[in-house]
Subunit: 300 residues, 2 copies
DNA sequence: CGGATTGATACTTAAGAGCTATGAACATCG
DNA sequence: CGATGTTCATAGCTCTTAAGTATCAATCCG
């Protein structure tokens, strides 16, 4: 017959009381079945754990060795149930998060900070990547949630905006318009060389820039493409050209670069979260709960 | 309902197979009760461990966290039964051993050496003491077995001889008889001052000495008493007197002392083991088995 | 759309955990 | 020294519940 935790619970009670009657009372059963179960345990082990001298119950050496083990196993079982409950609440576990570099400057840090506070035992794996690679990684399960630029077309994924911001102009400090005080008119950049993201990597951002320019009455001269936002700003600093970048990137604060908001109303550029539609990860739920405090995460 | 090891065994099987049918086969039960037990486990925990999508079974995060715990609990239980079995064979545990200093020179070391080999995981507590204190310590459970000098009268204890030896004379090196070549006649010491144990501490040894002398036709002049054998030999070395001591103490090899076996046939002096008659300690059984390889320890 | 696969459900069976009553061994006390 | 009380074991029964059989429902595949 197999040993069950019941046997251990009963044995610990008897070992602590050294009295079958009292132990039975404590276990809310009557004395005879307790005797039976202890006997069954001894039989399974093939070892006598208790010495019953008709008047006194004493642990054998094997009994006291087994007692310590039994206590630990029971405690361990308690721990395991607590762990499972915490895991189901998303308080322990793993979460693989992808993000585009742009996210690193405004939305990512406060969100991660709050997540770490709410679920300190969750192991976060952070992967900087591009939007399209993240979408593939989501499908294949390499990441569980990603900070991406729209659009997200795949029906297996959910996308939800997490942050919207306007575009500002980044100018080399020695550019004539940089020194000029007061408002900047976007049309004044009609002849300037532009630095831009490659469209496939961030169509929404690319299109926002182009539509912004065309609403100001010109089409930008694209001088150079660059993948990283830092690189774009570097190229501006090196006087290769000008750029329209998300407003939060002002915080990069690069020397030799001046940021200005044009008078023309800027379109919004946005960043959002994408995750698997059918995903039930508890840690992901916590993450989405923090990202979208009001509405529920599962709603697109 | 309480969690039992059965639930853990079943869950581990399902988690490993990710298939209820195969897991049930492996557990030698049919599939429906397996589903029921897993459901019961999840209910006890209040946590969903498996995601059943009618076609595919997958672990939830809580499930994979719980899986590790469950495996460890089961392994631990295996360990516990093995430990209990080893303890019942006396291979782990404790043994408190008392001994008179005399035992330290011949019987104790080889016995301990063999015991350590047979039961390396047993913790031995060694207490040097006198015979009478050891008998009290046995009754009160402070030691489990003692190397003592006879007699042991207490009915609750068992005594059994472990070693017998003859008496030899210890003489100061400058004593006339020490320089003399050839046999020593005990009677020649009739006028010499003797150093002896106090009778209450070791009546058998005391009486052996006195009867040896009287068989040689004289009664010893007791000049000095000393408790420790080392002290007696020191006093001989200091030329306070001569002594009759167990032959094995020759190995003390003290400078300034000469040992000689008299021509008269020496009575035997003996040392033995004492332990509680009703004692069932497994480690004690191993110890006695080594001390008395042929006969069984329990027999007096 | 039909057949195969897989987990869940319904119902039955039977093992065994637990209960009450009682016995046997031992200790304590009058 | 017998009477009484305490304590663990045994006996017989009940009843919970784990396990078995048969079947269903949903999904996948060709």
């Amino acid at each position: 017959m197999n040993i069950e935790l019941r046997h251990l619970r009963y044995f610990v009670a008897v070992a602590e009381e050294l009295h079958f009657g009292r132990a039975a009372q404590r276990l809310h059963i009557s004395q005879p079945p307790l005797s039976m179960q202890i006997r069954a345990l001894e039989e399974s082990l093939g070892v006598q754990l208790l010495e019953r001298t008709q008047r006194r119950v004493a642990l054998t050496q094997a009994g006291s060795a087994f007692l310590g083990e039994a206590r630990q196993i029971l405690a361990r079982t308690e721990q395991a149930t607590l762990l499972a409950r915490r895991a189901s609440r998303g308080e322990v576990g793993n979460l693989a998060v992808g993000f585009v570099s742009t996210a690193d400057y405004n939305v990512l840090p406060p969100l991660l900070r709050e997540f770490r506070q709410r679920a300190p035992a969750v192991h976060l794996a952070l992967h900087e990547s591009t939007t399209d690679r993240q979408l593939a990684d989501l499908i294949d399960g390499r990441i569980d949630v990603g900070f991406v630029l729209p659009p997200v077309e795949d029906a297996r994924l959910v996308y939800r905006t997490i942050h919207r911001e306007t575009l500002v102009v980044a100018l080399p400090a020695r550019h004539p318009l940089a020194r000029q005080r007061g408002k900047l008119r976007l049309a004044a950049l009609a002849e300037s060389p532009f630095i831009l993201f490659p469209r496939p990597l961030a169509p929404s951002l690319y299109d926002a820039v182009v539509s912004y320019c065309s609403s100001a009455g010109f089409s930008p001269h694209i001088e150079q493409e660059a993948v990283q936002m830092q690189t774009i700003v570097s190229l501006v600093s090196a006087e290769i050209g000008v750029a329209l970048i998300p407003a939060s990137l002002r915080h990069l604060g690069r020397t030799g670069v001046v940021y200005k908001a044009p008078v023309e109303r800027s379109p919004f550029t946005e960043i959002g979260l994408a995750w698997r539609r059918d995903d039930a990860l508890a840690t992901l739920k916590v993450f989405l709960e923090i990202a979208f405090p009001a509405g529920h995460g599962a709603a697109a």
